[in-house]
């Protein structure tokens, strides 16, 4: 299996109609001890779309993404990618599936002992039979895509948070995946770089038809890149659909979230009143 073949096997579908049911999540539940993090999540992600997952901090977005990649086992429910149930695959099948996906972790998760360039080259070295020099050439190209070529020889420890994040994106797209996962790609980036990352995500999606799942808090960024949006609250999907549909959702909590309204101020004012002596 060579890299070239895989690249050609990519569906070239910029103008193609999105295909429903590409990734199907059914009744996904997960808890750490007593703490329920995901509580019966159902999602349907179409082929070739940019699907944005939003929600307040700690509501289980990262956990959701780890399940989509098969990195964490759920307590119940299933994730089905193109008809394959991720959690009942044999290890070798799971590996094959993973080679078609790329994941940019929230904290980067770069290997500390390898330089940035070697980090990006690693998936190519380990999974293709390309020549060592050529691998570096491709890795440099990916780094240039995220504007990080100048830092190629640095170790991850000497990168800033935003640089780590971009290096992780470069590594995630190293194998030209069909499915890309981004965990908060623009958090911690300055507005210009964040816009560049958004642009990169849209370009990859349009040019290669990569199905893209993005977790983000960043409303303008979601506005710009999303085809469809899901909003999570407390481990459940509170709203899902075309972004216009979600932007104009009826639910009070979702409106508050989208319009960045503070909810709890009034509630807290009332709270102390109950403790005051009359």
């Amino acid at each position: 299996m060579s890299w070239r073949k895989e690249a050609l096997a990519q569906p070239q579908c910029p103008g193609l109609h999105p295909e429903a049911g590409f990734i199907r999540v059914e009744g996904l539940g997960m808890s750490f001890g007593d703490r329920i993090v995901l509580d019966g999540v159902d999602l349907d992600i179409h082929r070739g779309e940019v699907f944005v997952i939003m929600g307040p901090s700690g509501c289980g977005k990262t956990t959701m993404m780890r399940h989509l990649c098969g990195l964490t086992r759920p307590t119940r429910g299933s994730v089905v990618i193109e008809g394959q149930d991720v959690f009942s695959l044999a290890p070798s099948e799971l590996r094959t599936l993973r080679l078609r996906t790329g994941l940019a972790f929230q904290g980067g998760a770069l290997l500390g002992s390898l330089s940035v360039l070697e980090n990006v080259a690693l998936p190519l070295r380990e999974n293709t039979d390309l020549d060592g020099e050529f691998v570096l050439e491709i890795a440099r190209m990916k780094l240039e895509m995220v504007g990080l070529l100048h830092a190629a020889d640095l170790l991850p420890a000497s990168l800033s948070g935003g640089m780590k994040k971009r290096a992780a994106i470069a590594r995630a797209i190293a194998l030209d995946p069909e499915i890309l996962f981004f965990d908060e790609p623009s958090a911690g980036l300055d507005p210009v770089t964040a816009a560049e990352v958004d642009n990169l995500i849209c370009k990859l999606n349009q040019v290669f038809g990569i199905t893209t799942i993005v977790v983000t808090h960043d409303l303008p960024s979601a506005q710009c890149i999303a085809d469809r949006v899901a909003v999570f609250f407390d481990g459940r999907v509170a709203a899902v659909g075309e972004k216009e549909h979600v932007w104009h959702h009826q639910d009070e909590r979702i409106r508050d979230f989208i319009e960045r309204r503070m909810r709890e101020a009034d509630e807290r004012d009332m709270d102390i009143a109950t403790f005051m002596a009359m």
Binding site: R66, C69, L71, R95, R98, L99, T101, G102, L103, F105, G107, A109, L110, L111, G112, L122, P123, E126, N127, R171, L175, E264, A265, E267, R268, D269, D271, I272, A273, T274, F275, M276, A277, M278
Partner: protein, 376 residues
């Protein structure tokens, strides 16, 4: 900002109501006294406690914390605690927190478990750890012995690097320990043997004890402390930093990529350094014999050669190899199952040294028993 009207201060006539008047300063310094004073009021078991805050001129978070704690204690004892005469700024401060949820009594779990459950709770993690390490050992064995036949060779470059770190790094300390232990053993032997004028047999004592036991054991212990622990710490922090997950996600098996080279390198390192240890320790013995006990080096070497048997040497080598593999597997295994941040990494590091040394002694006992039983 708050539409609240501050309640007017008024006299309290109810006798079951206690009143606590706060002084003008409700800050970090006054907080402990405030808490103690309110707790004393609780002791008289009032139905209601009113904290009068009219006098308060300045306050800080610790002072407010004292009030929150008083409210929590009150709630736990079923006393209704009310605040009176709060200034506007104090109300504003309170609007940043939800007192209701802060003073919620936490649920107490009973810690009195019956003995069977306690034994279960103590042994289950141990069993899980052994299962984890066992699974990892199987994975490492697969990638060391089976994968080469499937055209996936062990990562040579990584193995060499690990070997360099383990063996070269430990060489100075191993040389030093070996030399000093050789001298010490020779001295101890000499003190006993010269009573019978049998000094030359110190060559036997040093040679046999070093080659069969002390060499392999000391080398293994040094490497467990140096490399085993460092492997546990390294893999542990990679788990914490999601690097292991990232490898899996990229289709790279962390066992094959990280663990197998480390285990092989440690096996080689313990065997190699063990042989070096033997030679240097015997050299130390020889030096002592020549310098203090007047034994000719030639005679010492000849005597050593009659004392040592090839079978013992072979067993010592085999033992060293198993020690090394064991150190590698334990360090990596504990590192990979780290949970809970930097504290977990620290625990894995310590445990890896303790467990490695324990297992080394057990393996040694098995080898010695096996060898003696075969010979008899």
């Amino acid at each position: 900002m708050t539409g609240l009207t501050l309640p007017p201060p008024g006299p309290l006539s109810d006798p079951s109501t206690a009143v606590f008047e706060c002084a003008s300063e409700l800050d970090r310094h006054a907080a402990p006294d405030t808490i103690a004073a309110i707790d004393r009021l609780f002791a008289s078991e009032p139905r209601k406690l009113v904290v009068d805050l009219r006098q308060v001129e300045s306050f800080d978070s610790a002072g407010i914390g004292a009030l929150v704690q008083a409210m929590r204690h009150g709630r736990e004892r079923g006393v209704e605690v009310k605040l009176r005469g709060m200034s506007k700024s104090m109300v504003d401060f309170f609007s940043l927190v939800r007192v209701g949820s802060l003073t919620e009594p936490g649920e107490r779990r009973s810690i009195d478990l019956d003995p069977v459950t306690r034994i279960g709770a103590a042994t289950l993690p141990l069993l899980e750890m052994m299962a984890d390490i066992g699974r990892m050992t199987a994975g490492a064995a697969r990638s060391i012995f089976l994968d080469p036949f499937r055209g996936r060779m062990l990562r040579f470059d990584r193995t060499v690097r690990e070997l360099d770190q383990a063996a070269n790094g430990a060489l100075p300390i191993v040389l030093l320990i070996a030399f000093l232990l050789g001298l010490i053993l020779a001295m101890q032997a000499w003190v006993q043997l010269r009573l019978w004028g049998a000094e030359i047999f110190m060559a036997d004592m040093v040679g046999v004890s070093v080659m069969t036991e002390i060499g392999p054991l000391m080398t293994a212990i040094v490497l467990a402390a140096r490399s085993g622990s460092s492997n546990a710490a390294q893999l542990g922090s990679m788990v914490v930093g999601e690097e292991i997950d990232a490898l899996r996600q990229m289709g790279v098996d962390p066992i094959r990529f990280l663990v197998a080279p480390k285990v092989v390198a440690l096996g080689i390192a313990v065997v190699g350094l063990g042989v070096v240890f033997d030679l240097v320790a015997m050299g130390g013995g020889l030096l002592f014999g020549f310098g203090v006990a007047d034994i000719e080096p030639y005679a010492y070497v000849a005597q050593t050669r009659t004392a040592l048997h090839f079978a013992d040497f072979a067993v010592a080598l085999a033992k060293s190899l198993v020690f090394g593999l064991c150190i590698g597997v334990v360090g990596c295994g504990l590192g990979l199952r780290v949970k809970g941040g930097s504290e977990g990494v620290g625990r894995a590091t310590t445990n890896s040294v303790v467990l490695s040394i324990f297992l080394i002694i057990i393996i040694d006992a098995i080898f010695v028993t096996g060898q003696r039983m075969l010979l008899s």
